[in-house]
């Protein structure tokens, strides 16, 4: 187990290193930061001074080495726009994004999996077919457009829910949270729904496919032949078999939800790191872009390791060692 963990962490570190190189070359070497930093009318001397100050006259590998050294100390550069450390800026915005992503993922799990079970168990019934048809629609709806429709319907026409920002927040451990206040929760509903919709459709389809795969298996027929109640067959025998692959997907999809928060945050003006990255791309605030990407990469690597571990814990067949055959 320990060896497996170390191996996975090393692989993760390799991915982080590879991505940092790609991101660094991409963001710093292809463009010319000097162009953005200084007044276009500045003379050659100023230009050279700034270039030297930023170390841009050095060979690429030296620049990269400096970047890595600084990054390892938590210094990812300073935002051109806000003039504060980029890492700090990202971390400050992260809780809002995580709050949104976790809520959306929970919604997807709590709505998608039960609906998928129904769609798979009663395949021929009209409601099961409706669920499946609905999931195709959910798959086809572009997230950003659904966001607009939600704003239009619930914000403008019905005027039921707020559509901009996080609302009132409460500070816990120095971090602001929306879900702890009624106003904050109301602000959370629409963006989280928007972000969850695609994943609900995905989980419906995956759960349904899993049910269809497990139901005809002998051990389910055997459970029926032994007089086990159908509800119990579903909750113990079917669900446990489906959950193993689903956990993997949930982990990976959580990462994807964090990435897709970019869209939802932009539409609902949710002050998370997704909205920040779009603003930074539009303003060419390179240190923030790099910081965001590095934080995301690390986050993905962690998610992947956690998912692998969970998988090993859940599925006896991949349990590492311990076979007494």
């Amino acid at each position: 187990m320990i060896a497996f963990l170390i191996q996975r962490l090393l692989q993760g570190a390799a991915v982080v290193a590879a991505m940092s190189l790609i991101v660094f070359i991409g963001v710093y070497a292809i463009g010319d930061p000097v162009e953005i930093l200084i007044n276009p009318d500045a003379d050659q001397a100023t230009r050279e001074a700034v270039t030297q100050m930023l170390g841009l006259d050095q060979p690429l590998w030296v620049q990269y080495w400096r970047f890595v050294q600084a990054a390892l100390q938590g210094d990812l550069g300073t935002s051109f726009v806000f003039n504060i450390p980029a890492g700090e800026l990202i971390l400050e915005r992260m809780p809002a994004t995580l709050e949104l992503a976790v809520t959306a993922t929970l919604m997807a799990i709590l709505i998608g999996i039960p609906l998928g079970l129904i769609a798979g168990l009663d395949q021929e019934r009209w409601y099961a077919k409706s669920i499946l048809a609905g999931s195709i629609l959910g798959f086809s709806l572009p997230t950003f457009w659904v966001g607009l429709i939600l704003i239009l319907t619930f914000g403008v026409w019905l005027n039921w829910l707020p559509v901009f920002g996080r609302g009132e927040t409460v500070s816990v451990f120095g971090i602001e949270w929306s879900f702890l206040t009624l106003d904050g929760l109301a602000h959370l509903v629409l963006p989280a729904t928007n972000l969850a919709l695609f994943k609900i459709a995905l989980f419906i389809r995956l759960t349904r496919a899993g049910v269809r795969e497990v139901l005809p298996q002998d051990f389910i027929r055997y459970a029926n032949a032994m007089g086990i109640h159908p509800a119990r067959v579903v909750s113990r025998h079917v669900l446990k078999n489906i959950m193993i692959p689903l956990v993997t997907v949930i982990g990976i999809e959580f990462g994807s939800v964090v990435a897709f928060a970019v869209v939802t945050e932009s539409i609902f003006n949710w002050p998370g790191m997704g909205k920040l990255i779009i603003e930074s791309i539009n303003r060419l605030d390179r240190p923030v872009i790099v910081a965001y990407l590095m934080v995301i990469v690390v986050m993905f690597v962690i998610i992947n390791v956690v998912v692998d571990l969970l998988y090993a814990v859940l599925d006896p067949r991949v349990r590492l060692g311990g076979s007494n055959r």
Partner: protein
């Protein structure tokens, strides 16, 4: 070695018959058939947009700011009825949607096609050559697939900047790995078959073996991936354009039309965003219905 070992994969007549049977099986699902018909209609509408559209929305001489933000069904100064209304600049929305559809489908199809070729070449190479080249290609595939498409596209566009060509590069970059993985998997299965060994024994050229023997067997799974990926590419482009990092203002795809309408939406001119979105939705549903059916047909586990 058995007699059948030297029989190559299907010949033309057999292929035609197989194609007809496949078409019949596909059409057994009314939803899939409807999806295919709608998709064909949309493609035709996009191709012939300049002929169908009542107005050239980008001919500035024809635009009048006085016609801006007319609700659906309004009659313009010129006496023309705008069935879907007009946008913020007084363009006929129906015409703008037809032109937008053209751009969206073109970007989606073209990027899917280029990604298909890159992915197929890399996938076949990985399967056929094996060894280090195989593991190098697959590492790259794994790396790409472990990050969500939108993230990779954002990174690339952050580096490259906005633009039609750059958007296409980003779309290709997020798609190729799916093709490569699919082709490699199918090719690996086929590679083990006797007739490939036989073909190698006959010293047929590598390219010939690849093209005539391995590739045809990858087509079925590839078709499924193409539909899925094209749908992905179209939404992703729309999303990126909506966020303002994709296509430039001069090439207004459906995503950009929606983004342009966003600013007027809260003011009550909802149609400018809604109708391009509906058009996008119809495209997606049509493609996904076809994709679902293809997946069912090619999944041997689901065959009755």
């Amino acid at each position: 070695m058995s007699d059948t070992a030297f029989i190559a994969p299907p010949r033309r007549a057999v292929r035609l018959r197989a194609l007809a049977a496949f078409g019949a099986a596909f059409a057994e699902s009314p939803a899939a058939l409807a999806g295919a018909l709608v998709f064909v209609a949309l493609v035709l509408a996009a191709v012939f947009a300049p002929l169908i559209a009542p107005q050239n929305p980008y001919d500035l001489a024809k635009l009048s700011i006085l016609d801006a933000r007319l609700p659906p069904g309004s009659v313009a100064m010129s006496g023309y009825t705008h069935i879907l209304g007009t946008d913020g600049l007084g363009r006929d929305l129906f015409s703008a949607i037809l032109y937008g559809l053209r751009i969206s489908l073109m970007v989606g199809a073209l990027s899917a096609f280029v990604a298909l070729i890159i992915g197929t070449v890399l996938g076949l190479t990985a399967a056929y050559v094996g060894g280090r080249i195989d593991s190098a290609i697959m590492r790259l595939v794994d790396l790409q697939m472990s990050f969500p498409a939108i993230l990779i596209a954002l990174i690339l566009l952050a580096i490259l900047g906005r633009g039609a060509d750059k958007t296409m590069i980003a779309l290709i970059a997020v798609q190729w790995a799916y093709y490569a993985r699919t082709v490699r998997a199918s090719a690996l299965v086929e590679r083990e078959r006797e007739y490939i060994e036989a073909a190698q024994g006959l010293r047929l050229g590598h390219v010939r073996i690849l093209m005539r023997h391995l590739l045809p067997n990858c087509i079925a799974p590839l078709l499924v991936v193409v539909t899925v990926q094209m749908a992905h590419a179209i939404t992703l482009e729309a999303t990126l354009s909506f966020l303002g990092v994709g296509l430039p203002e001069t090439q207004p795809s459906l995503g950009l039309l929606i983004a342009n309408g966003y600013q007027y939406m809260l003011g009550g001119s909802y149609w400018i965003s809604i109708y391009p979105g509906v058009a996008l939705l119809i495209v997606m549903v049509a493609i996904n219905l076809m994709g679902d059916r293809l997946r069912d047909l090619f999944n041997p586990a689901l065959k009755r």
